[in-house]
């Protein structure tokens, strides 16, 4: 980033990515220039780390925190605190009310939760499976007698005395939140709402203030384990986060800020920290990068984007098609099945810190899934790591500068890595150390490439219509490797790759999204009258959701005319158990022709995602859900636009050369300082472009040029 403009800046936007170890801040000024701040995270009081990171970042611009904050109009938070609270089971003491007779179902989980997130070998290895502690223990779970069937018809009327008893027993246990989830309440909410009101009355009668969460008020969708887990998260983990966010907001206000923080949510937009459904901010960090890519795409005209992010432990991929995110409706997280709309992101447990091992029995090469994380690898003598990692390969092969890791804070020892690689991998495979290390990198790249490819073809597309964005600390190291031969339209490495997630947070829309379960069933050959009737039912649901969206915005001071609305729906062939989310091609649905347009959009998507032969229109169609998303315009980081200069990089960008091994030979790679390169510069591999937080590798056979937006474009030549 140019460091020449030090005064007179008006800082507009703040993005925050509060990770487990580091807290990144990302500031954008009115000209679209940005700066990244880094500080260690402070889990006990997140505000401290945030303030420190901000000071550090603004320091690069020569600004004090107080100077900068007063002009900032928007601040977006993302972090892992809530997720960690869940993983470490450090949430609030909650009570749970379910159907009488089914009090065990939450702790039984779904058995799938005993191996969620496992690698193939462990998924089949029975003795490795285990359940985590339930979020609410059995002794704080109570049942109420009632039953509603799948059509929403009452089978057993609610016995209110059982609800009163349940409430009193939980209140007596001093719970900090009470969650209610009854079977099929998404279909007929009356019993569950009545229980909610009874519990509230009992709480009041007891003179306490315990929040009450009925699943139907939050996530009224089918599959009780998903719905209940998610509603419990609201009580168990989201409420403490709300307090944290409140603290952060006031810490910044104390330093002169005037804005309210928004939080990155699983659906890919940001919501106010006051929003009702805060559990959907449980994973926000990794989504930031996807939003950043989407925003860049919107501004610069990339409609289909494959987002790829490599950090120390994982490779995350997400797709943006036609400027739209893909949403998953029953994802899992922290080994819990959930019913949140989540930006579909797939993760492979393979990052720069991943360990490399040979199977002692079959000599197969295994990467990860565990990782040295921040301890880098054997090459860092003080790390205590004895098993070689991907980073060790980087050091052996000359990808990384051992003297400039994290800006030189950590000195790496190539010989240590080389010796370990020889003993652990190269000798047993009968390869030279260099070939073994290069082979591992090739294998990793190939795994990642396959992953990208299968994700894109799984959506029914080919890479040729996609631009691949590569970011994260190690993304640019491997960008050439995992994109080679896939035929992407373009491969882009932003110059601020290491801070890209925080950037994305700053670029996210202020967006509320609400979903409602529907159960519309219609034959393929239904009459026009019936089609029109179903269209109108969907339209009514859209209308209802619109009101909820608008209400949320009104709370934040936006008027109705400022909100842009986008309806969607979920459809499946009748009788199926999985639906597809479709963005509606029409904004209102009233006629049979409208209905046919919805069906056509669904059939088209279905054939692409699965196979044309899997289409089953003869079964008829079910609409299972209505979706409404609303956004309001907010200030976003301006994308820089600098004039392009010559193709030849300035001499002062050159940092000498380093030996670099690939494809069975050593070459001398030209080294560059990333920040000194100028728009228009063109660099032909072998070259390595270094900055403090990331390294961009351009091997022979590749070329990159820097455009006026400070985006590197990588090409095979």
């Amino acid at each position: 980033m140019p460091l020449d403009k030090q005064n007179g800046r008006s800082v507009q936007v703040l993005g925050i990515d509060a990770g487990g170890t580091m807290t990144d801040t990302f500031f954008v000024d009115a000209d679209g220039e940005f700066v990244v701040g880094k500080a260690q995270s402070t889990p006990d009081n997140e505000a401290l780390g945030l303030i420190e990171s901000s000071r550090e970042g603004l320091g690069h611009w020569g600004l004090s925190l107080e100077d900068a904050l007063s002009s900032i109009q928007t601040g977006v938070y993302s972090g892992t605190a809530m997720l960690n609270r869940v993983v470490q089971r450090k949430g609030l003491k909650c009570g749970l009310i379910v159907n009488a007779g089914m009090e065990d179902f939450h702790r039984m989980g779904r058995a799938i939760q005993a191996y969620l997130g496992f690698a193939y070998e462990d998924r089949i290895h029975l003795n490795t499976h285990y359940f985590d502690e339930p979020l609410v223990p059995r002794h704080r779970t109570r049942g109420v007698m009632e039953r509603v069937d799948m059509f929403g018809d009452v089978v057993i009327p609610l016995r209110e005395d059982s609800a009163i008893a349940a409430a009193r027993e939980l209140i007596a246990q001093d719970v900090e939140g009470i969650v209610i989830s009854l079977l099929h309440s998404y279909k007929n909410p009356h019993h569950e709402r009545r229980v909610r009101d009874i519990v509230r009355a009992e709480v009041e009668a007891a003179g306490k203030s315990i929040p009450v969460f009925a699943s139907v008020d939050y996530y009224p969708v089918r599959k009780e384990t998903h719905r209940t887990n998610t509603t419990i998260l609201e009580a168990y983990a989201a409420e403490p986060s709300r307090q944290t966010l409140k603290k952060i907001t006031s810490a910044f206000k104390d330093n002169g800020s005037r804005f309210d923080f928004r939080v990155m949510a699983t659906h890919g937009g940001t919501i106010s920290w006051k929003a009702k459904e805060l559990a959907r901010t449980i994973v926000s960090g990794p989504i930031g990068g996807v939003i950043g890519a989407k925003y860049l795409g919107e501004v610069l005209g990339y409609r289909n984007i494959a987002c790829s992010d490599i950090g120390g432990t994982s490779f995350d991929v997400a797709l943006i098609t036609q400027n739209e995110l893909t949403i998953r409706n029953d994802p899992d997280m922290a080994r819990l099945v959930l019913s949140l709309p989540l930006v579909a992101m797939d993760s492979v447990g393979a990052g720069a810190g991943s360990f490399i091992r040979l199977d002692p029995y079959t000599k197969a090469i295994k990467l990860g899934p565990d990782s040295a994380g921040y301890r880098v690898g054997v090459c860092w003598a003080e790390s205590g790591i004895e098993t070689v990692t991907i980073s060790d390969c980087h050091v052996i092969l000359g990808y990384l500068n051992p003297d400039n890791f994290l800006g030189g804070q950590v000195k790496l020892d190539r010989q240590r890595a080389w010796d370990a690689m020889k003993v652990q991998i190269a000798d047993p495979l009968g390869l030279s150390v260099e070939d073994a290390a290069a082979g591992v990198i090739e294998l990793l790249d190939s795994d990642l490439r396959d992953y990208l490819r299968s994700m894109i073809s799984g959506k029914g597309y080919s890479p040729a219509s996609f631009t691949c964005f590569s970011y994260g600390g190690a993304g640019p190291v491997h960008a050439y490797g995992y994109t080679e031969g896939l035929g992407f339209e373009d491969v882009i490495v932003p110059a601020w790759a290491a801070g890209f997630s925080a950037f994305g947070c700053a670029a996210a829309d202020f967006e509320y999204r609400y979903d409602k379960s529907l159960d519309l069933n219609i034959a393929e050959t239904a009459s026009d009258d019936l089609k029109a009737a179903e269209a109108r039912t969907l339209n009514e649901a859209w209308h209802e959701l619109t009101e909820r969206v608008l209400e949320e915005f009104e709370l934040n001071g936006y008027t109705r005319d400022q909100v842009t609305l986008q309806p969607g729906f979920r459809m499946q062939y009748r009788g199926q158990l999985n639906d597809l989310e479709i963005e509606s091609p029409i904004h209102t649905a009233r006629t049979a022709a409208d209905w046919d347009r919805l069906v056509a959009a669904f059939n088209d998507t279905y054939g692409r995602v699965y196979a044309a032969s899997a289409r089953s229109p003869e079964l008829g169609y079910s609409v299972t859900g209505a979706i409404m998303r609303g956004t309001v315009p907010i200030p976003k980081p301006k994308i820089p636009k600098e004039p392009e200069l010559g193709a030849t990089p300035p001499e002062d960008a050159k940092l000498g050369t380093r030996r670099f091994y690939r494809r069975k030979r050593w070459v001398d790679a030209q080294l560059y300082q990333m920040e000194r390169l100028q728009p228009g510069n063109r660099i032909t591999g072998p070259a390595i472009i270094e900055s403090d937080a990331t390294t961009f590798v351009v091997p022979d056979g590749f070329e990159t040029w820097l455009d006026g937006h400070r985006l590197f474009h990588l090409k095979e030549v």
């Binding site: 089914m102 058995a111 998924r123 089949i124 199977d359 009788g575 699965y610």
Partner: protein, 769 residues
């Protein structure tokens, strides 16, 4: 013209499928290495390329399963993951598989081999973009409800492999509704049977197939979407293979397709060497077939008998890591649906191995080539009659395999791999099945798969996990109740962990669970039970107890409609202590069946009737008296143990803590345990005396007819096993036990006729017989 006809095969290189397979088998036999691959040239010269191919192909098959299952409508497929996709080389040996019901790695391979051996190549022909379907249990399938779709893979006009996909369908049009029915006693009642039939060309299914198959089953919609799931998955994998070949070249792919199998074989051998101790391991399994009961209605008098199925096994591990499994002494096939083909029996053992011995990246037919099996012909797991039924072969498969866990676990224990010890798998039942008209007023069949989540056997360091897995699919799941209620006109009144269902032990077996279902919105409805009842199907290990066996609870004319309306007590939750039931008294004049008859045939049910679906637990490890007393108290508090068994089985005396929860009374427990140990000693007799007493009973034939029949059948088919029995008990030569002398019919005893005796049929022999 008289010129000799040049026969050119369809396999890459010009061989016919038969020539190709013969060559592979011959080379394997000759060298002891798969396909004669003493060296793995690709892996050794280019390990990176080899690993890349492996990793990419496996990711592809796993991904195809995850994607394709979303097409299905059946919760069995979509929620329980009862599907699997496998990639084969041209000879029909598996290279790689997805997760799921991986027993079919072997059964689909057997179908491909059947096509090869019976010259499908010339008639009906095997061409690019063909689709084949198979579910024939006589050639290796587990049971008819597992439907295979098999698609050949061609490259430049030559066959280079196959891909198979399988789903467990909800109904196959058997005598009764459901996929694993009990009423029939011959294969002809098992339902729709399809033998490697070509059902489509040019990636399109034939209309005659669609019409015939869709009317041959009760649940047509599930059937259709299951088939589309299988085809879509196969096509995804075929496309992936094409892409891999385009990138890496056909030579590398072809080489990999054979080296991978040898790799799998070596992997097994090395793991056996590393984890076990050479020697002979013997164990045994039993299960009950209680067919003399009124509630088992079968068409044939000769099937109306109580019998016991028997599987002794001898596992020989050699110092070089090769091994042999011999099942001499197993009882004969029977007139029920619990018979199994040798392929399903051995493939299931392979599945078990993948869960414990070889949970590695490379699981494929290599392990099958690395294992010698001996299954005497005529036994229940290698029947010699083409009339036998297979619909629920799992009934005894699961109880036979649980014995092998014990054998392996003793070896692991000896080597110090305590965490790998597993006292055995649960009997994966009950199977709630039935049918009639459902809540949508359509013909319907139900087949709850909640028992994909049974208790797991204890290890030597920890309790087995509860409600978690099934031997046939380690990725167990019970599914959401709301989804089962979509698929079944039965509402839940309870879903609860089944106390004391896991076997007691120092480490206890995982518990199963139970679901109480009330019939709701059903018309002309039937249901039945399927599971073990009179016999514990597994054993504990090293002093641990077996899991509890099954029982049934059903209630008719319950009066629940009135009870609900009047605010009376409604049975709900679990049948926590079946010996002291509480529901029965709530139901006034209801007709209740509560007994050990855990197998029944279709009984009539109507709205407000009740059915208890009880999923079994796993066996325990170690003496229960060694269990940490507080863990016992926690088990009672947590609903894993019926309170009274704390004292009687574990010797733990409980007291109530201030919190209202139980805790162990340490001093009283110590006293109680000392007493139990003293009682044990008082009860004990020297082995010599006990054997003398038992020998006398044997000489007198002092045993139930079903026990005598079981031994008589085993003696006949296993002369060596009989010899061992005689020697052990020192029986005189004139002591004879013959089925013909018993007062029950034994049709099939002397006369049988195998599939191989049909014209033009070449059966494929996979095991030593």
């Amino acid at each position: 013209m008289n010129a000799p006809i040049q026969i050119k095969g369809i396999v890459r290189g010009g061989q016919t499928l038969k020539q190709h397979r013969d060559e592979i088998i011959e080379a394997t036999k000759r060298t002891g290495h798969y396909a004669g691959l003493k060296k793995m040239a690709l892996r050794d010269s280019d390990p990176i390329m080899y690993n890349k191919l492996f990793s990419r192909l496996r990711a592809g098959v796993v991904d195809a399963r995850e994607t394709a299952k979303k097409i299905a409508a059946s919760p069995i497929v979509e929620q329980e993951g009862e599907l699997c996709f496998t990639l084969y080389n041209a000879a029909g040996d598996s290279i790689l598989t997805s997760t799921g019901i991986i027993i079919h790695v072997g059964t689909m391979g057997a179908a491909i081999k059947y096509m090869i051996e019976n010259d499908w190549e010339s008639n009906p022909g095997v061409r690019d973009r063909d689709i084949f379907c198979n579910n024939d249990s006589l050639i290796g399938n587990v049971h008819p409800c597992d439907i295979h779709t098999i698609v050949p893979i061609f490259h430049e006009g030559a066959l280079i492999g196959w891909v198979g996909g399988v789903t467990h369908v909800i109904d196959t049009g058997a005598v009764g509704p459901g996929s694993m029915t009990t009423g029939q006693v011959q294969r002809f009642g098992d339902g729709y049977s399809v033998t490697c039939r070509k059902v489509g060309e040019n990636d399109t299914l034939f209309r005659d197939w669609l019409h015939e198959s869709q009317r041959s089953v009760r649940t047509t919609r599930y059937w259709m979407l299951d088939e589309r799931t299988r085809i879509a998955g196969c096509h995804m994998i075929r496309r992936m293979v094409e892409e891999v070949i385009a990138e890496e070249g056909i030579d590398a792919y072809w080489q990999f397709a054979y080296e991978a199998v040898e790799h799998g074989r070596l992997g097994l051998q090395n793991r056996i060497k590393a984890m076990t101790i050479p020697g002979k391991y013997r164990q045994v399994g039993f299960v009950d077939v209680p067919y003399a009961h009124d509630d088992v209605r079968v068409p044939s008098d000769f099937a109306k008998v109580d019998t016991i199925m028997h599987t002794p096994s001898e596992m020989t591990i050699r110092p070089d890591g090769t091994w042999r499994l011999d099942f001499e002494g197993s009882s004969r096939w029977g007139w029920h649906t619990y018979n199994a083909h040798s392929v399903s029996f051995t493939s299931g053992i392979w599945v078990m191995m993948t869960q414990t011995l070889i949970p590695t990246e490379m699981i494929n037919d290599g392990a099958a080539y690395g294992t010698e099996f001996r299954l005497p012909k005529g036994t229940w797991m290698n029947p010699d009659d083409r009339r036998v039924a297979f619909a629920y072969s799992w009934h005894f498969l699961v109880s036979s395999w649980t014995a092998l866990w014990r054998g392996l676990s003793r070896a692991y224990f000896g080597r110090g791999y305590l965490e790998e010890v597993n006292a055995g798998n649960a009997n994966t039942s009950n199977w709630l099945q039935g049918g009639g008209f459902n809540q949508y007023d359509e013909i319907h069949a139900v087949n709850s798969f909640e028992c994909a989540a049974n208790g797991v056997g204890a290890s030597a360091i920890a309790d087995g996990i509860s409600h978690a897995a099934a031997i046939w699919n380690p990725e167990g799941d019970m599914g959401d109740m709301e989804i089962w209620e979509l698929a079944e006109p039965l509402i839940y009144l309870g879903r609860q962990i089944k106390a004391s269902s896991g076997g007691a032990g120092k480490f206890r077996g995982g518990c199963g669970f139970e679901s109480l279902r009330m019939v709701w919105n059903a018309k002309d409805w039937t249901m039945f039970f399927m599971g073990n009842g009179h016999i514990s199907s597994d054993w504990g290990l090293m002093g641990g107890y077996p899991a509890a066996s099954g029982y049934r609870f059903e209630a008719h004319d319950t009066g629940l409609k009135e009870i609900i309306a009047s605010g009376g007590d409604i049975p709900h939750g679990g049948d926590t202590d079946p010996q002291n039931p509480v529901w029965d008294a709530m139901l006034g004049g209801a007709k209740i069946k509560r007994d050990k008859q855990a197998i029944t045939t279709e009984a009539m049910f109507k709205d407000y009737d009740l059915y208890l679906n009880y999923m079994r637990g796993g066996p325990g490890f170690g003496d229960p008296l060694d269990r940490d007393p507080q863990a016992v108290a926690d088990d009672v508090n947590g609903g894993y143990l019926v309170e009274r068994f704390a004292a009687s089985v574990y010797g733990v005396v409980l007291k109530t803590a201030a919190s209202g929860l139980f805790e162990a009374d340490e001093a009283a427990t110590e006293t109680r345990r000392a007493q139990i140990r003293a009682d044990r000693l008082a009860r004990a007799v020297p082995t010599r005396d006990w054997m003398a007493r038992e020998r006398e009973r044997i000489l007198q034939k002092d045993a139930g007819v079903h026990v005598q029949q079981m031994f008589a059948a085993s003696f006949k088919l296993g002369p060596r096993w009989e010899e061992g029995f005689r020697k052990f008990w020192d029986l005189p030569i004139d002591w004879q036990l013959m089925e013909a002398d018993l007062p029950i019919p034994s049709y099939g005893r002397d006369y049988s006729m195998d599939l191989s005796e049909l014209p033009d049929v070449k059966t494929v022999q996979f095991v030593e017989e």
